[in-house]
């Protein structure tokens, strides 16, 4: 813990690997570490990392080493109900700085421990399940933003058959969120077969999108997510990511890779592959696949993450305040003498004026880049 105490990103990784022994708590804890780094830790009574709750601050202890952390309290909003009487906590959860709304059951994409039936190998051909009414989602998000529990919205969409991978379902939500809140809207979903869906997603108001491979190479995808390998295929992920990287702002297309699902060198190769097509990789951890390796064993991988993203010149600010994965910006803690410019830009985008500028520029970019052509084809081309 001596090393991790000095390096918040390493501590985040350690927490993801070993979890935390927290008395009177169960499930998962959201923590804020030094450097405003968000971390998500599984409560594990066997972990050597102990949480000591205090009146004013919380401490993470291992042996005689202590690190101050902040355990995020359960948000107030979760105790309230929507206009239809649904518990707001059922509609949206808060992870890091994101209000996460799962639609159609969500999927493993972006959240640990959630592997849907498709990922396990079963083709899903049925209609989607019932969805939260748009108005109730707005109630939940309104309460979250009012409380200050989150800054951004993340829609997490489970797999749906069809060329657009279910994107159509999202449009009413995105349109309504855009109308009610001035925020960044991110979407995590499976890649669509029709690349035009990606352009429609951007045009509809999605600011950042992720198609999360999780398994870095084809063999691991087949082994860990046979359904995704069979019914979607790794090439569609890469094809969609590459297309999205041309459509969305630089750095706003994300792909999560999970450490532990593939050998480290293949994850390294995938990081290079993704950054070369303009996609920002983020790294989460599967503790079971890590086979009790210490956090320090993964340092070269995270070092590579930062270096490759920096080399590709990608904006690192779009991936921020995620609690379940380490972002390239957080990976700077693993690099000696990290260049200052990415951090400077990142800090600029985090303050109130910077965040406003980011949102305004995203809107302006959309206005400039998106064009609407009549369905009967533009008359100018006849």
């Amino acid at each position: 813990m001596h090393e991790t105490a000095k390096n918040p990103a390493l501590l985040k990784l350690d927490l993801a690997l070993r979890g935390v022994d927290a008395p009177d708590a169960g499930g998962w804890l959201e923590l804020q570490l030094d450097g405003e780094i968000w971390a998500r830790a599984r409560v594990n009574p066997d972990s050597a990392l102990k949480l000591q709750r205090g009146a004013h601050s919380d401490l993470l202890c291992e042996g005689d080493t202590q690190t101050a952390v902040r355990v995020m309290p359960e948000p107030e909003y979760a105790r309230h109900k929507s206009r239809s009487g649904i518990a707001l906590g059922d509609i949206a959860a808060v992870h890091g700085a994101y209000a996460v709304v799962e639609l159609n059951g969500g999927c493993g994409v972006g959240l640990p421990g959630r592997v849907c039936a498709l990922c396990r190998g079963r083709e899903l051909t049925q209609k989607p399940g019932e969805m939260w009414p748009v108005e109730d989602v707005i109630d939940a998000l309104g309460a979250i933003f009012k409380e200050g529990a989150a800054e951004f919205v993340l829609f997490q969409l489970g797999y749906l058959p069809g060329d657009d991978a279910g994107l159509k379902l999202l449009f009413p939500y995105i349109e309504t969120v855009r109308r009610h809140f001035d925020t960044i809207v991110a979407v995590a979903m499976h890649p669509p077969a029709d690349p035009r869906s990606i352009e429609r997603a951007y045009a509809s108001g999605v600011d950042a999108i992720s198609y999360n491979l999780e398994a870095a190479d084809a063999d691991s995808l087949q082994a860990s997510f046979p359904g995704r390998a069979r019914f979607i295929g790794r090439s569609r992920y890469l094809h969609s990511l590459a297309h999205a990287a041309k459509v969305f702002p630089g750095g706003a297309v994300l792909c999560e890779l999970t450490v532990g699902l593939s050998p480290d060198e293949r994850i390294g190769a995938a990081i290079v592959e993704l950054t070369e097509i303009g996609v920002l990789p983020i790294l989460s951890v599967d503790p079971a696949g890590a086979h009790d390796r210490p956090a320090a064993a993964f340092v070269p991988l995270y070092e590579r993450l930062f270096n490759e993203v920096h080399k590709a010149g990608l904006n690192m600010s779009w991936a921020r305040d995620l609690s379940h994965a380490i972002t390239p910006m957080e990976a700077r803690y693993f690099v000696l003498n990290a260049p200052p410019l990415p951090l400077l830009l990142h800090n600029l985008s985090k303050n109130r004026i910077g965040a406003l500028a980011t949102r305004s520029l995203a809107r302006l970019r959309r206005r400039l880049r998106v064009r609407y052509v009549r369905a009967s084809l533009d008359s100018s081309r006849l």
């Binding site: 239809s84 009487g85 649904i86 209609k127 989607p128 019932e130 969805m131 939260w132 009414p133 748009v134 159509k168 379902l169 449009f171 009413p172 349109e175 077969a193 029709d194 690349p195 035009r196 352009e199 429609r200 951007y202 045009a203 509809s204 295929g233 790794r234 090439s235 094809h239 297309h243 041309k246 459509v247 970019r365 400039l368 880049r369 998106v370 064009r371 609407y372 052509v373 009549r374 369905a375 009967s376 084809l377 533009d378 008359s379 100018s380 081309r381 006849l382």
Partner: protein, 496 residues
């Protein structure tokens, strides 16, 4: 507690998102292209007023000068796209009356051109082919029958796109064939998708459609527009059969050259198309039996084409086309709702304006005046025709084909009069190359759709595209000088 959005009305795709394009050029270029519009609008208006206020030069009447001012304004707006084509067309008609070039009543009456109604009816026929599923069935059957090998599939897409464009407008053909080609390309194994074969499939669709689209008056609306300008300005016309007779050898030549270029540049690798063949078989099995409606639409279309070929002089192209549309409604093969969704009403209005403007330039002798000025630069009609055809072809790559025809033809007709050229031959020499576009995504709906598949990059098309542009230009000029005189259309022949 919750709402089933899958079946609810909110589930549908917002109409504005149906045809979204994201401009992926560098932001500075996007910004520049967006901010330039106000300047273009002002520039057009400035040129208009400058010409209007200048003293008419010798040989140009005041009415001709005013027609020229309107023409300059419209060319600037059409070429730059500062205003939608349709709005510029309407502006032309209004200005003709306001500026006193011709009585407003006359200007508006030119909207009643036969060409406008022919285009309208052609759109309606294409709507029936599309909505009744005839086009899709034909495409799937042909691809399943002839597309069992990589080159066989390529040829099937290429030739079918070309042949379908003989009968229905290019954009309708592309709309029918594109989803099938996209499905075929996406069905390929990843290794096959990384080859240039999928690019070849999309190009086969786009190039086949564009080359086939010049074969008859039905392939693109620029043909009827040219015919409208020709007949309203000079009283001369070209029959359906003569138009096709003039174009078919060129189409055959270009289809051959296009196929050679396709296979030389894009489809040389051995590719496993097993999954695509399986996909097309699945589609075929989903089609089921031929319906009465499909058969009936095919019959109506067939009879219409025969009537255009044999009786267009007597009943007129538009007359036959509209009777065919009436037949579609009589047999319940088309609904007005479908027509409203399919017909591009904007282009109909734009054509009215362009035809009126062309007529005004001719009547006021403004076209003859410009032609006289241009004619001073060259004394050779052969060189002049070569330049006009090359200009039309290059402009067609980046501009609306209709805008190219509307801008160039009135002046071209003036030049024809000046040099004593056959008006019909000159009309073809400008109209045909405007439709032969191979590189740019903005040039035709077929190219735009081909690019939207995600397998094409402009830089891959530059060399093969230039080869085809040059081949088209040489081919057109050869056909123009060697073949057209044999069927009485030689542009160098005495004016008729």
């Amino acid at each position: 507690m919750a709402e089933d959005l899958f079946s609810g009305p909110d589930r549908r795709l917002p109409p504005e998102l149906l045809d979204v394009e994201v401009d992926t050029r560098p932001l500075a270029m996007v910004l520049l292209s967006r901010s330039v519009r106000p300047f273009l609008l002002i520039a057009g208006a400035a040129v208009f007023f400058l010409i209007l206020r200048a003293t008419p030069p010798a040989g140009l009447s005041p009415a001709g000068e005013r027609a020229l001012a309107i023409f300059a304004l419209c060319v600037i707006y059409w070429v730059t796209g500062a205003l939608p084509l349709v709005i510029t067309g309407l502006l032309a008609i209004v200005l003709l009356g306001i500026c006193g070039v011709m009585p407003a009543r006359t200007a508006y009456s030119l909207f009643g051109s036969e060409a406008v109604f022919f285009v309208l009816a052609a759109f309606m026929l294409a709507a029936a082919v599309n909505y009744r599923g005839l086009g899709r069935r034909v495409a799937v059957i042909v691809f399943a029958r002839f597309g069992r090998t990589p080159n066989g599939l390529l040829r099937a897409i290429y030739l079918l796109s070309a042949l379908m464009s003989f009968l229905i407008p290019e954009h309708a053909v592309a709309a029918i064939v594109f989803p099938i080609v996209l499905n075929l390309a996406d069905s390929l194994e990843p290794a096959a998708r990384r080859t240039r074969y999928p690019t070849a499939l999309f190009l086969a669709m786009a190039w086949g459609t564009n080359i086939g689209g010049i074969a008859t008056l039905l392939g693109g609306a620029r043909g009827p527009l040219a015919l409208g300008i020709l007949s309203e300005s000079t009283g001369v016309t070209i029959s359906f059969i003569r138009w096709s007779a003039a174009t078919l050898p060129l189409v055959a030549l270009l289809l051959l050259v296009g196929y050679l270029v396709l296979t030389a540049f894009f489809a040389t690798e051995a590719v496993d198309i097993g999954p695509s063949v399986a996909a097309i078989r699945r589609r075929r099995s989903q089609l089921g039996r031929v319906t009465f409606q499909e058969t009936a639409v095919a019959v109506v279309l067939g009879v219409t084409v025969v009537a255009w070929s044999l009786a267009s002089q007597r009943f007129g192209l538009a007359g036959i086309a509209i009777l065919a549309v009436v037949a579609l409604f009589v047999f319940d093969l088309l609904s007005w709702q479908e027509v409203e969704g399919h017909v591009n009403w904007g282009i109909i209005l734009m054509y009215g304006g362009a035809i009126a403007l062309g007529s005004a330039l001719e009547r006021s002798k403004a076209a003859a005046f410009i032609a006289h000025r241009i004619a001073r630069q060259t004394g050779s009609p052969t060189v002049l025709l070569a330049i006009l055809s090359l200009t039309a072809q290059i402009l067609g790559e980046t501009l609306s084909h209709s805008a190219v025809v509307a801008s160039m033809l009135p002046v071209g007709l003036g030049l024809a009069a000046r040099f004593g050229l056959d008006l019909r031959g000159l009309t073809l020499a400008i109209t045909l190359p405007a439709g032969l576009t191979y590189i740019m995504p903005v040039s035709t709906p077929a190219n735009a759709l081909a690019y939207s598949g995600g397998y094409l990059r402009t830089r891959d098309l530059v060399v093969p595209g230039i080869i085809l542009i040059v081949a088209s230009w040489i081919g057109l000029n050869l056909v123009m000088h060697l073949y057209w005189p044999l069927i009485g259309l030689g542009p160098l022949a005495i004016r008729r």
